[in-house]
């Protein structure tokens, strides 16, 4: 019984590549929806539109990847659920719009998302054996890191340098 329980537990801690990609798509979709529907003054709209555009490009990337022949053969492969998964999942739920009163709050939220996504893909890459799936997660982690750096640049310019 004991052994069966452990098997069951470890199975629960596993997830298929297909499910991961589905969740990742939901993550990006939720971000796109959030930025697209965020009610801000026109002054903040260019920033929010830019963020939405970036998330749309991530979403498109997932659509393309899910149809890639290299990945189709691995869609049912199992990967260990990373520790960051719950935080990643939390971001699929949209926050209250009232919390976003200025550009600093919007950027802090966006930076938080990128950080969690980067950690998620990085952990998944570590849990995956070398091959196309690991390459995919490394690529995604790097994409999120680059986007985070870009956001940090904006953050510095807007928050620390008075907008210049």
């Amino acid at each position: 019984m004991q052994e069966k329980g452990e098997d069951y537990k470890s199975l629960k801690e596993m997830v298929t590549i297909g499910e991961i990609l589905k969740k990742a798509s939901a993550f990006e979709q939720s971000a796109f929806n959030f930025y697209s529907t965020l009610k801000v003054s026109k002054r903040l709209r260019p920033l929010v539109q830019d963020l939405a555009k970036e998330e749309q490009s991530h979403l498109d990337l997932f659509q393309t990847l899910s149809k890639h022949p290299d990945l189709e053969n691995h869609i049912a492969d199992l990967v260990k659920v990373p520790a960051s998964d719950h935080r990643f999942s939390d971001y699929i739920l949209l926050p209250k719009q009232d919390d976003f009163r200025d550009e600093q709050a919007i950027l802090q939220y966006a930076l938080g998302r990128e950080q969690v996504a980067m950690q998620q893909y990085d952990s998944l890459a570590k849990e995956t054996p070398p091959g196309p799936i690991q390459d995919l997660f490394r690529f995604l982690a790097n994409e999120e890191l680059e986007h985070k750096k870009e956001l940090e640049k904006w953050y510095y310019e807007i928050v620390h340098s008075g907008g210049v």
Binding site: K42, P46, Q104, K149, Y156, H160, G162, V164
Partner: protein, 594 residues
């Protein structure tokens, strides 16, 4: 007898082998003044060599592929020598501020084409043969004075418990000596955002013509008392003397000229060239900071009726409400503003525009938004919502307004820029008066070498016994049972990534708790644009940093509305002045055809 036989002596040479000297040149002396060599890496293209040459033998030639950086004082041009004119006096070498120019020991050039006597020397010399150096700059021959005249200022003990101005200014003798160091290269002019005629006013100071100096200053800067004290002096960064020595004290020389000429005379000088014929056009300016005041000055001089609406009780904007009096006395701001008002500018203080922008659109021919960044940014780390966590900008404003501030015994300031040091040093003065001792800590994200505050601020804060912790990132304000206990910081390993993007990395294991009952945040500033109202905000175009989109002349997407200064360019007085001129010119053109 000897003289009679002397001609016969010549007969003794008959039949001797003739002596022929070789045509090849003999080696020149170590200090020989041969053809020029110029180290292009060192040369900044200042053109001082060309200016000093009495024979007009040197001409500066623009080089297409060379980099240009006016801010650092680098021009994309190099000296070309005309050997039909050069007399090898080597004054060009002796005056060269960088030491890039020297003379070689090469001295033979034969050619029928006269153009080959006009050359652009590099480090390999005239024929690319790499001859050794001949006459070069030495401490004996150097015509430049590389040492700066010291500026008298109060000692830490004399100043640390008051807001009395620290810098005392040059006396006549030191001002003359300092002005005499200038080589008139004009690099400062190019680097200055408003292109002040610094070589001209320094020359006038050197000649003892101080009214002429003031006239030169007023050609581009109506806030000269202010800039003579707190300008970020890009001119000095670009100063060619600064390549090997200490840059000319251009800012202090400006201040000297302004301090020496009476205020009434300055008003007369400034009024020269003012158009006394009224244009009949009305311009509204929101905000009496440096951009608004400069634009008002220019527009009033052009005959337009200018009204400035200022929300605070006195004009000056961040110059008055963001800079402590020990750096910029209020009476000096008042003097500059008085000159501007004497042009006919109407300044109405304590006027909050609120949502009346529409009335400005209707009642005036043009409107300029020239507000400063009066909102303080917060790190928003946990605990910063505590009532004893303050914004530096708010506190500086309250200090100027003489509002009561509950100064605590232990204060931590977050930030490494001038605002952080301004508020920290101001609070330290109050602490010393209240408690007889100073306990102010400044925590900056940057390391000591890369602090954003000016080195003078850092040095003076240290002299005034403030503690500075560099490479520290705020983690949280520690609050226990509702009481602020202090600030936790972690070590910042690096702030920017390899591409120069802001990407701070921290070492969470290196944690310091700074005990404090008051925390002040000085990490950045924000504009307060609510007064525009929803309707106008919707009509305007904005960029992704939340600034109104403007064209080159500062006009927004609304043809009647301009924006200038900190709200579009970030906090800096001299940039705001430059922007003020730019928008005034644009508005004047608009009004001329309206």
């Amino acid at each position: 007898m000897k003289s009679i036989l002397a001609p016969l002596k010549a007969l003794s040479f008959l039949g001797r082998e003739p002596v022929t000297l070789p045509i090849a040149p003999r080696p020149a002396a170590p200090n020989y003044r041969g053809f020029h060599i110029n180290d292009w890496e060192k040369c900044i293209g200042c053109g001082t060599c060309a200016t000093i040459c009495d024979n007009y033998a040197i001409r500066m030639v623009d080089i297409k592929d060379l980099s240009s950086d006016p801010i650092k004082g680098i021009k994309p041009r190099r000296p070309a020598i005309d050997y039909g004119r050069c007399c090898w006096c080597a004054l060009c070498v002796d005056v060269c501020p960088t030491g890039s120019l020297a003379l070689s020991r090469e001295y033979v050039h034969i050619g029928l084409d006269l153009n080959t006597f006009f050359i652009l020397p590099d480090e390999k010399g005239m024929h690319g043969l790499g001859f050794p150096k001949g006459w070069a700059k030495s401490s004996d021959s150097d015509l430049l004075d590389l040492k700066r005249q010291p500026i008298p200022e109060l000692t830490a003990k004399e100043r640390q418990d008051s807001f009395v101005e620290i810098v005392q200014g040059f006396d006549d003798q030191t001002a003359l000596l300092e002005a005499s160091r200038c080589i008139q290269c004009g690099m400062c002019h190019d680097a200055c955002p408003t292109h002040m005629h610094a070589p001209e006013y320094i020359r006038a100071i050197w000649a003892g013509e101080l009214e002429e100096a003031v006239q030169q200053i007023y050609r581009t800067n109506p806030l000269a008392n202010v800039c003579g004290r707190v300008c970020t002096h890009r001119c000095e960064t670009a100063c060619s003397i600064g390549v090997r020595g200490k840059a000319i004290s251009i800012r202090w020389l400006k201040r000297y000229a302004m301090d020496k000429v009476s205020h009434e005379r300055i008003k007369q000088i400034a009024s020269k060239g003012r158009n006394t014929i009224e244009s009949g056009k009305k311009v509204a300016i929101v905000g009496a900071g440096p951009a608004g005041l400069t634009a008002a000055y220019d527009l009033a001089r052009q005959g337009h009726a200018v009204t400035i609406f200022e929300a605070l009780e006195k004009p000056g904007g961040m110059m008055r409400y963001g800079i402590p009096e020990y750096r910029l006395p209020y009476d000096k701001i008042d003097e500059d503003i008085d000159v501007i008002e004497s042009m006919g500018v109407d300044i109405r203080c304590n006027v909050h525009i609120g949502h009346q922008m529409a009335s400005l659109e209707n009642d005036f021919d043009a409107t300029l938004i020239a507000i400063g960044l009066h909102g303080g940014r917060s790190t928003r780390v946990p605990g910063t919502d505590h009532p004893h966590v303050y914004s530096a900008i708010d506190l500086l404003r309250r200090l100027t307004l003489k509002e009561k501030i509950e100064v605590k015994k232990k204060i931590v300031v977050i930030g490494g820029g001038n605002v952080a040091f301004d508020i920290a040093r101001s609070l330290a003065r109050l602490q010393r008066n209240l408690f007889g001792e100073v306990k102010v800590v400044i925590t900056a994200l940057e390391d000591r070498e890369n602090l954003l505050a000016s080195p003078v601020e850092v040095k003076e804060a240290n002299e005034e016994e403030l503690q500075l912790f560099t490479s520290r990132g705020p983690r949280r304000c520690v609050v226990k049972d509702g009481t602020l206990m202090g600030l936790e910081t972690v070590r910042c390993i690096s702030i920017f990534d390899e591409q120069g993007r802001f990407h701070p990395k921290y070492d969470d294991s290196d944690l310091i708790f700074h005990e404090a009952d008051m925390v002040v945040e000085a990490i950045g500033q924000a504009p307060q644009l609510d007064f525009l109202g929803d309707e106008l905000t919707e009509r305007l175009e904005w960029d992704k940093r939340g600034r109104p989109v403007i064209n080159q002349g500062g006009c927004t997407s609304e043809p009647w509305l301009w924006a200038a200064g900190d709200v579009v360019e970030g906090p800096d007085v001299i940039h705001a002045i430059a922007a003020g001129h730019r928008v005034a010119n644009s508005i004047h053109q608009y009004l001329s055809i309206k």
